[in-house]
């Protein structure tokens, strides 16, 4: 099955296809980007990933097929326990034809990631550019900064067609996040710039927001530190914020 070209990628020849070959005993940390696909096959097979506290070659954990030299990575099967896919990627494309583990697309600068299943926590954390689309749901902490860092998402675009968890776009400084379904609590906390759109319902919105815009289609709870305006809310007053929270028209 792995050899079939992926729909929607007509014209492009597919390149590196990976499938898990074992039921993982612990999660795998595979910091791989599409650039890997352009490397010689032997090098790819020997590429080291963390399997718990062991460094193992990729081929020990995954079936790999190489079909060209383009920077496209196709992940088939259940990758929900594989973390850090597309970390810091700058170009190329990753297509995940199932679920994906945490930190997918963290620090991403360019290129495109498509997740056909669900994504875990920290999707697109501290993302700077590029595009991520998730057909299913995502976990918590979409596009957030890692603990202690002062800036979240700076650029790029994340689209989630399903629901998202808590903490979305914290300390966001730029870029766009769109959640087509519902979202959890704490959307755009300490947001400085950029745009978040939630089509469904969500919990608290905009705590300590300094700037940027949040649009919500369903119900939400605005933090009691926003001034009501004709078309929404502006705040957070406690940080002299000029952030806007509006109903999605």
């Amino acid at each position: 099955m792995a050899s079939k070209p992926v729909a929607g990628y007509g014209g492009v020849i597919i390149l590196l296809v990976m499938k898990p070959r074992v039921d993982f005993e612990v999660n795998v940390e595979a910091e791989i980007t599409p650039e890997l696909a352009a490397k010689p096959f032997e090098e790819i097979k020997q590429f080291k990933v963390y399997y718990g506290n062991r460094l193992v070659p990729l081929e020990e954990l995954f079936e790999i097929e190489k079909k060209g030299d383009d920077e496209i990575l196709i992940l088939e099967g259940d990758f929900s326990r594989v973390k850090w896919i597309g970390k810091s990627m700058e170009k190329g494309e990753v297509v995940i034809k199932g679920d994906i583990g945490a930190h997918c697309g963290a620090f991403m600068k360019g290129g495109k990631i498509t997740v056909e299943g669900n994504a875990d926590d920290w999707l697109g954390a501290e993302m700077e550019g590029g595009e991520i689309a998730v057909r299913g749901n995502t976990g918590n902490l979409v596009a957030c900064p890692y603990w202690g860092n002062l800036k979240g998402m700076k650029g790029g675009r994340i689209t989630v067609y399903g629901n998202a968890g808590n903490y979305i776009g914290e300390k966001m400084c730029g870029g766009e996040i769109e959640i087509r379904g519902d979202a959890g609590d704490f959307v755009g906390t300490e947001m400085k710039d950029g745009k978040i759109t939630i089509h469904g319902n969500c919990g608290y919105v905009g705590g300590d927001m300094k700037g940027g815009e949040i649009f919500i289609g369903g119900s939400f709870e605005v933090v009691p530190a926003f001034i009501k305006t004709d078309d929404g809310f502006i705040g957070d007053v406690n940080v002299k914020g000029k952030g806007k929270v509006k109903a999605l028209k």
Binding site: V26, N27, G52, N53, W147, G148, G207, P224, V237
Partner: protein, 417 residues
């Protein structure tokens, strides 16, 4: 033994008199702790009694072969043992996590965001004229707190109860609420909003506050803000009512922001009501040895901090550990069902003085000496003040320190480092 230190809760009361059987100055919790009770008789491997050395050998074998062993617990032992636990996790390439991760870890996350304007319990005793208990119930969880440190304590500058305004904020009228001057009942999950509302009022933006927030009217909130701002020295104690509920770390962070604001008008400090007598040590030792307080993964040979993945509960639910060493704790009793299920699937080694629910699922059980009675060492009270717990009873049981020392020596030998 005079001035013994009670090894139950984060109060770490240091005025206990104990003759080996009966203790004075103990609260009901401490009394239970100091009373004789069931012990694990000896080291057991798969149901069979063995020597300490053999049990440790077998445990080390499991841990060294694991791809990511979880080392969890530590809140009820001494720093000297905790330090060995952190080093052991590093040498094994495993996870170090401790009981904070199911109680006050959100406070650490809040501190990472905004810091903690804190102080010692003596500041409440000696100076505080406003004492707030938010989402905590010391009468049941820290019974001597009100008399030793907060509500009734006779301090150097604040001489007793009549000089203090005592406020309780909770979702239910707890026993502590009956000690209060004011009680504010809030709807579960609305603490975050109430902190923001109080900040808005104190910052002069009453207009941003709706008529009612989390079940408390704007008028009541204004009155509350007034009491806070008019205190000369205030202490806000908070508990699991914040960290275990909706918003957890964000709620504590917002409380910190409220306290930052209050410090622009008067003086305020906050203090988490930490549970176990040395849960603070389990955080602090890890911080100086590895740079982080909990949820530390050493799989790459050095420390990494990912609380949403490497707390014990998350590592178990995510099936990201394949063996567990449990020290001085009972995760089978206190973890959510799904985490406990994973615990029943992997090899579990337990070190504890008492049989508990984790004992039922442990493959290897290694009994230990009772800290503060049969073993000495350093512990940190809830405000971080270090105290030395004493040994006043001889025992055949090995201390946590001795058990972990032999484990570490064996691991280092096996790893050839």
């Amino acid at each position: 033994m005079r001035n013994a230190i009670c090894t139950f809760c984060g109060n770490a009361c240091d005025d206990i008199e104990f003759d080996g059987f009966v203790g004075k100055n103990l609260c009901p919790l401490g009394e239970a702790k100091f009373s004789a009770k069931q012990r694990i008789e000896g080291p057991v491997v798969n149901g069979e009694r063995v020597s300490y050395e053999e049990a440790i050998d077998r445990a080390v074998e499991i841990l060294v072969n694991a791809k990511r062993p979880l080392l969890y617990g530590f809140a009820s032992t001494v720093n000297e043992a905790i330090r060995l636990g952190v080093i052991l996790a590093e040498k094994l390439g495993g996870i170090y996590d401790q009981c904070s991760s199911v109680c006050h870890a959100p406070s650490t996350l809040a501190m990472i965001e905004e810091g903690i304007p804190g102080g010692t319990l003596g500041q409440a005793k000696n100076r505080a004229d406003v004492v707030v208990f938010w989402g905590c119930n010391p009468v049941e969880a820290h019974p001597r707190h009100p008399s030793r440190y907060s509500v009734m304590a006779k301090g150097f500058l604040t001489k007793g109860r009549q000089y203090r305004h005592v406020i309780v904020v909770d979702v239910r009228k707890t026993a502590t609420a009956y000690l209060a001057t004011e009680f504010y009942q809030v709807k579960p999950g609305y603490d975050y909003a109430i902190f923001s509302a109080l900040r808005s009022i104190i910052n002069g933006h009453e207009d941003a506050v709706p008529d009612e927030v989390g079940g408390v009217s704007r008028e009541k909130l204004k009155e509350f803000a007034d009491i806070l701002v008019n205190g000369k020295y205030g202490v806000i104690f908070y508990g699991l009512g914040l960290t275990h509920t909706r918003g957890s770390d964000r709620s504590v962070e917002n409380l910190v922001k409220l306290v930052q604001t209050l410090n622009r008008h008067t003086r305020y400090i906050i203090q988490p009501m930490r549970g176990h007598f040395n849960v603070v040590g389990a955080s602090a030792v890890a911080a100086w040895e590895a740079g982080y307080e909990y949820a530390i993964d050493f799989s790459r040979g050095h420390s990494r901090f990912f609380p949403s993945e490497f707390t014990a509960v998350e590592a178990l639910i995510r099936r990201d550990c394949d063996a567990a060493l449990i020290i001085a704790s009972d995760p089978a009793a206190h973890f959510p069902k799904r985490a406990v299920e994973r615990l029943t699937e992997i090899p579990v080694i337990q070190i504890d003085p008492h049989p508990n629910i984790t004992t039922l699922i442990a493959d290897i059980v290694i009994p230990s000496a009772l800290v503060g009675i049969e073993a000495e060492g350093t512990i940190y009270r809830m405000d971080g003040i270090p105290l030395r717990v004493k040994k006043f009873k001889e025992t055949e049981y090995w201390s946590d320190y001795e058990i972990l020392k032999l484990m570490l020596d064996k691991v280092i030998r096996l790893k050839g480092e």
